[in-house]
C-alpha cells in the first residue's frame, strides 16, 4: 500500500505543475501596469507642514538618532519667537532602508512616509534630498495635529490659550 502511495506521490505533482503551466501568471508587469501601494506603504520620506502652514519639524534630531543607517542629518536653528526649525535637512535615499523608524520617532509628525516608490535614478546625487525637495505644502497624515498647540509651549499661541489647556499656574499666588 505504501508503494502505491509513493507512486501516486511521484506522479501527481506532474499533474499539478502541468495545470499551473496553463494558468495566468500572477506577476504584475511593472512598467506597463503599476500597482497602487497600500496607504501605509513605506516609500519616500517627506516633511509636512502643520494646519497653520508652518513647518512641523522642530529639528529635535530624534529621527537621525533613530535611523539605523544614519542617513538623516540636519542643522537646528531657532526663530526669534522661540520656534525651532531645521536650517538644513538632508536625507540620503541611497542609504535609506525605508524602515520607518524615523517617522515613529518624530514627535511633531513632521517626517512622514509616502507611497512613492520609484526612486531609482542614474545620477547618484539626485537621491540625496535637501529640505526644499522634502518639504511639501500640506499636512500629510493627521492633518489636525499641531505640535505647538498641544505641547504647552507658548510659540504658536500664548500658553494656556490652546483648546483643552488650563491656564498656567501662577506659582506666586500659590504661596501659603
Amino acid at each position: 500500500m505504501s508503494l502505491w502511495r509513493d507512486i501516486r506521490g511521484t506522479i501527481l505533482p506532474f499533474w499539478v505543475t502541468l495545470r499551473y503551466l496553463f494558468r495566468r501568471p500572477v506577476t504584475v508587469c511593472y512598467p506597463e501596469r503599476k500597482q497602487i501601494p497600500a496607504p501605509r506603504y513605506r516609500g519616500r520620506l517627506i516633511l509636512t507642514r502643520d494646519p497653520d502652514g508652518e513647518e512641523r519639524c522642530v529639528a529635535c534630531h530624534l529621527c537621525s538618532a533613530a535611523c539605523p543607517v544614519d542617513c538623516i542629518s540636519m542643522q537646528a536653528a531657532e526663530r526669534e519667537d522661540g520656534r525651532r526649525y531645521a536650517a538644513w535637512f538632508r536625507i540620503n535615499f541611497s542609504r535609506c532602508i525605508f524602515c520607518g523608524l524615523c517617522t515613529e520617532a518624530c514627535p511633531t509628525l513632521a517626517l512622514q512616509m509616502t507611497a512613492e516608490y520609484e526612486l531609482a535614478t542614474r545620477e547618484l546625487l539626485q537621491v540625496v534630498c535637501e529640505k526644499e525637495e522634502l518639504l511639501i505644502d500640506g499636512c500629510g497624515k493627521n492633518d489636525q495635529y499641531n505640535f505647538y498647540r498641544l505641547a504647552g509651549i507658548g510659540v504658536a499661541a500664548p500658553r494656556g490659550s490652546n483648546p483643552g489647556e488650563s491656564p498656567p499656574v501662577d506659582i506666586r499666588s500659590n504661596l501659603p
Partner: protein, 330 residues
C-alpha cells in the same frame, strides 16, 4: 578522388546544418526552460528583450562575451581553460552519429541523413558521454576551490555510477535490433518503438540520462544551497557560458539519444521525418524541463543507493529476461 571530395562536401554541408540547428536550439532551450519554469510557477519568465523575450538568448550571449574572464590566482590555468571546452565539445561531437531524418534520394544518390554512420555509433555515444565527465571533473579540480572540487567529485561519482545503468539499459535495444549502428536501431523500430518493446529499459534509461545530464532531481554537483554552483563556481564570462551551453547541448543530445534508441527515431506518420525527429527531441526536452519544475533534489546517499542498489540490478535482470525471451522465440 572525386567521390571522396563529394563525400567531404556533403559532410561539411550536413555538419553546418546540424551545428547551426543544434546551437540555436540550445540557445533557445535556455529561454524555453526559463519560460516554462516561470509559467509553472505562475510567473512570466523573461519577456523584456524583443517580443515575448525572444531575443533573450542573444542578450545573454552578448553579456557573457563582454564580461571579464577571471582566472583564480592559484588555479591551474592550463586545465582551467581546457575544461569548459571539453564539456561543450563532447556534447557537440555526439551529433556526428545521430541520424536525424530518413535517407534522402537526390540525383540518383542516396544521401544518409547522418554526418557519419559509424557501425558502432551507439558505443561512440557512450564513449562521449563518459568523456563528458572530464570537463566537469577537471573544471572542479583546476579552480582550486573547495566548492568546485566537491562539485567535481560529486559529478564524477554520479556520472560514472549512472553510466553503468545507462549502458545496461541500452543492451536490450542492441539485442533486439542486433546492431550497434544507430541507423539499424532506427530501422528495427519501424513498426514498434523500443519504448513499448522494452518498457523497463526505457524507464531506467530515462532516469539514468537525467542523472547523466546533472539535471534537477539529480543536480547535486551544482546544488546551490550547499556548493554555491559546484564545479563552475569560479568560472565567469564565456567560459561559464560554455559550461552553460554544454549543459543545454547535452539536454538535446540526450533527447536525441532517447529518440533514436527508444522512441523510434524519425519514424512517424504524415509529417516529414525531420519534423518527427525534432518533435520527439523537443518533447523529451520539455519532459526534462517539466521534471525540473516538479521534482525536489535527492540527497547524495539516496542518489548513490538508487543507482547502485535499484537501477543496476534492475538493468541486469532486464537483460537476463530479454535475452531469455529472445532465445526462446528463436
Amino acid at each position: 578522388m572525386n567521390d571522396v571530395l563529394l563525400t567531404f562536401i556533403l559532410i561539411v554541408i550536413k555538419l553546418g546544418l546540424v551545428l547551426g540547428t543544434v546551437l540555436s536550439l540550445a540557445a533557445y532551450m535556455v529561454l524555453a526552460e526559463r519560460k516554462i519554469l516561470g509559467r509553472m510557477q505562475m510567473r512570466h519568465g523573461p519577456n523584456r528583450v524583443g517580443p515575448f523575450g525572444l531575443l533573450q538568448p542573444l542578450a545573454d550571449l552578448i553579456k557573457l562575451l563582454c564580461k571579464e574572464d577571471l582566472i583564480p590566482e592559484r588555479a591551474d590555468r592550463w586545465v582551467f581553460m581546457l575544461a569548459p571546452a571539453i564539456s561543450t565539445i563532447t556534447a557537440l561531437l555526439a551529433f556526428a552519429v545521430i541520424p536525424f531524418a530518413a535517407p534522402l534520394h537526390l540525383f540518383g544518390r542516396t544521401i544518409p541523413m547522418v554526418i557519419c554512420d559509424l557501425n558502432v555509433g551507439l558505443l561512440y555515444l557512450l564513449a562521449l558521454s563518459s568523456l563528458a565527465v572530464y570537463g566537469v571533473a577537471l573544471g572542479g579540480w583546476a579552480s582550486q576551490s573547495k566548492y568546485s572540487l566537491l562539485g567535481g567529485l560529486r559529478a564524477m561519482a554520479q556520472m560514472i555510477s549512472y553510466e553503468l545503468a545507462m549502458g545496461l539499459a541500452i543492451v536490450p535495444v542492441v539485442m533486439s535490433s542486433q546492431s550497434f549502428s544507430l541507423t539499424a536501431i532506427i530501422a528495427a523500430q519501424q513498426t514498434l518503438p523500443n519504448a513499448i518493446r522494452h518498457p523497463l529499459a526505457f524507464l531506467i534509461f530515462v532516469i539514468a540520462i537525467m542523472a547523466e545530464s546533472k539535471r534537477t532531481p539529480f543536480d547535486m554537483p551544482e546544488a546551490e544551497n550547499e556548493l554555491v554552483a559546484g564545479f563552475h563556481t569560479e568560472y565567469s564570462g564565456m567560459r561559464f557560458g560554455m559550461f552553460f551551453v554544454g549543459e543545454y547541448l547535452n539536454l538535446i543530445v540526450l533527447g536525441a539519444m532517447l529518440t533514436v534508441l527508444f522512441l523510434g527515431g524519425w519514424h512517424g506518420p504524415l509529417l516529414p521525418s525531420v519534423c518527427w525527429f525534432l518533435i520527439k527531441v523537443l518533447g523529451v526536452a520539455f519532459f526534462f524541463i517539466w521534471v525540473r519544475g516538479t521534482m525536489p533534489r535527492l540527497r547524495y546517499d539516496q542518489l548513490m543507493a538508487f543507482g547502485w542498489k535499484i537501477l543496476v540490478p534492475l538493468g541486469l535482470l532486464n537483460i537476463l529476461v530479454t535475452a531469455a525471451w529472445l532465445l526462446w522465440r528463436g
